[in-house]
């Protein structure tokens, strides 16, 4: 798994590529945690984390990957931040549907729409 971190204004975008299974899921968790911490440290600006997880190039995700999405969502929300998902593939979508979380996650098909969520 590879993760590329981009910033657009006050929005952080993680482009995730490859398989989010097992140990890779933990790696993704720590990358997201770093972003949460970084946002918290910029206390002066009162900036909260606005995160887009771009899943377009994720080939495969398992339940540990889903666990990371849930844990990240709750942690970010507790820190008054927001997170949305971008470009869900069939495998990931069905995991989220099975966990009945489609109402929890805001999902978008284009980056422009996802960015629009924060405006």
């Amino acid at each position: 798994m590879q993760v590329n971190v981009r910033h657009k204004g006050n929005i952080t975008i993680l482009d995730i590529e490859g398989k989010v299974i097992g140990a890779d899921a933990l790696a993704l968790k720590s990358i997201i945690d770093q972003q949460i911490e970084a946002a918290n440290n910029e206390a002066e600006q009162e900036e909260k984390l606005n995160l887009i997880l771009n899943m377009e190039r994720v080939q495969m995700m398992d339940s540990s990957g889903l666990g990371v999405l849930v844990a990240s969502y709750t942690t970010i929300r507790r820190n008054d931040g927001r997170v949305v998902l971008l470009n869900l593939g069939g495998n990931i979508r069905s995991l989220i549907v099975m966990a009945k979380l489609m109402t929890i996650f805001d999902c978008y098909n284009t980056e422009a729409e996802a960015i629009g969520h924060f405006l």
């Binding site: 097992g22 849930v70 942690t75 099975m98 966990a99 009945k100």
Partner: protein, 414 residues
């Protein structure tokens, strides 16, 4: 990752026999036929366990143990001595020098496997904790590590006791369960709770997260369920109350998926609510499979979670199969690494497996599970569990599991 066992014996027939016995259990087996090459092999590539013959020419087993315990790379590798002599003195000497267990020749091959698994079960937690502690600094002594490993063992023992030893006997139904744990403490759990003479509560769940915190959450959910199921009737209300309880008390990283339902033998209905768990299958006599989806979100992460209840009717011969994602997410080979793919490619049963199949079928998946179920509906519930485990082994090329697996099969008598 497959665990490696170094087998040391000067009798080549015994080497071959042990190798043939251990490899199908999912272990990687290395061999050495004398003490010196055993020490050399153990130093260059430390195994997870050594099966060591005592009576060998030149250097005997005791000497090998002493040498290995003096070498940094091998001092923590567990050793099982294999001795022809049944004398207490030998056993004591062996254990004194630092061996972990012994087996007496002639041995029963099943005993060998059982002892290997028992010793690995004891030492696995230490191996797992060691790097973790090293990463945290030097504050932990060897003794502290052993204590921690001991606590993990104790937790595992308590947890095992909480799981029903056998499926309940219910008139008109055939019920079987299966649980395979990948580590000493399991995240998967199930329970059967008698509610009245004709009703039984059935739960299957999977706590996400790992280690002791996950095990504690499992105990909490189980206890809450046992108390609540006598107060509330609708499975949805029970899941809602458990959810709210867990949300309050746990960290964000901990949550569970679970299905809870009530099997009523008077009208053969199964009334359930599915909290974000992988969909159980209901196989009906007309060869249809429906998935039991109704319920709500996974348990313990969201305060706003709501749940609904649904029911299905079990006609004579109908089957309901509950499972955890450790089954559907079983990967090819050693958790989808390249070694695993090779073992599939060279397997004689893989004529029809091509590159595409390997790429698209990294996981066993719900469809294959449904197919396996449909093909074996004439079997008893326990034989059906076995058939599924065999199919998993065929798919993955290994009998070992990397995630916990749990399975409940309920079949209504014809």
């Amino acid at each position: 990752m497959a665990e490696t066992i170094l087998v040391v014996d000067d009798d080549l027939d015994i080497l071959e026999l042990l190798k043939m016995n251990l490899e199908p259990e999912g272990y990687k087996v290395q061999t050495a036929s004398d003490g010196d090459s055993a020490v050399q092999s153990a130093c260059t590539d430390p195994p997870d366990l050594i099966l060591l013959d005592v009576m060998m020419p030149h250097k005997n087993g005791f000497q090998v143990v002493e040498e290995l315990k003096d070498i940094e790379e091998t001092k923590n590798v567990p050793i099982i001595l294999v001795t022809a002599r049944g004398q207490t003195e030998d056993k004591v000497r062996g254990l004194d020098t630092g061996a972990d267990d012994y087996i007496t020749k002639p041995f029963d091959l099943r005993e060998v496997t059982a002892r290997v698994e028992a010793v690995l079960g004891r030492t696995r937690p230490i191996k797992y904790i060691n790097p973790l502690m090293r990463a945290m600094g030097d504050g932990f002594s060897e003794k502290g590590l052993e204590q921690l490993a001991g606590h993990l063992q104790a937790a595992a023992a308590i947890q095992k006791k909480l799981l029903p030893e056998q499926a309940p006997n219910i008139d008109g139904f055939d019920i079987a369960t299966l649980l395979q744990s990948s580590t000493s403490v399991s995240g998967d759990f199930y329970d059967f709770i008698p509610l009245s003479e004709t009703q039984i509560g059935i739960v299957l769940g999977d706590v996400k997260g790992s280690g002791i915190p996950a095990a504690l959450l499992m105990v909490m959910i189980r206890t809450a369920l046992r108390l609540l199921c006598h107060e509330e009737e609708a499975p949805a209300s029970i899941l809602k109350r458990i959810n709210d309880l867990v949300v309050q008390d746990t960290e964000a990283d901990l949550f569970a998926t679970m299905i809870y339902g009530i099997l009523d033998t008077t009208d053969s209905t199964f009334t359930y609510s599915n909290g974000g768990h992988c969909y159980p299958f209901h196989w009906t006599q007309d060869r249809n499979i429906t998935r039991l989806k109704t319920g709500g979100m996974l348990i313990g992460a969201f305060k706003e979670a709501t749940f609904t209840t649904d029911f299905c009717l079990m006609a004579p011969g109908d089957i309901i199969a509950f499972y955890t994602d450790g089954i559907t997410e079983t990967g090819i080979g050693d958790n989808t690494n390249s070694e695993g793919n090779q073992s599939i490619a060279t397997s004689p049963e893989s004529d029809d497996s091509n590159e595409d199949a390997i790429l698209t079928d990294i996981f066993y998946g719900g469809d294959r599970l449904a197919a396996c179920l449909s093909e074996n509906t004439s079997l008893s519930a326990s034989a059906l569990c076995e058939a599924i485990v065999e199919d998993l082994a065929r798919f993955s090329g290994s009998t070992q599991t990397h995630d916990d697996r749990a399975l409940i099969v309920i079949k209504r008598d014809v």
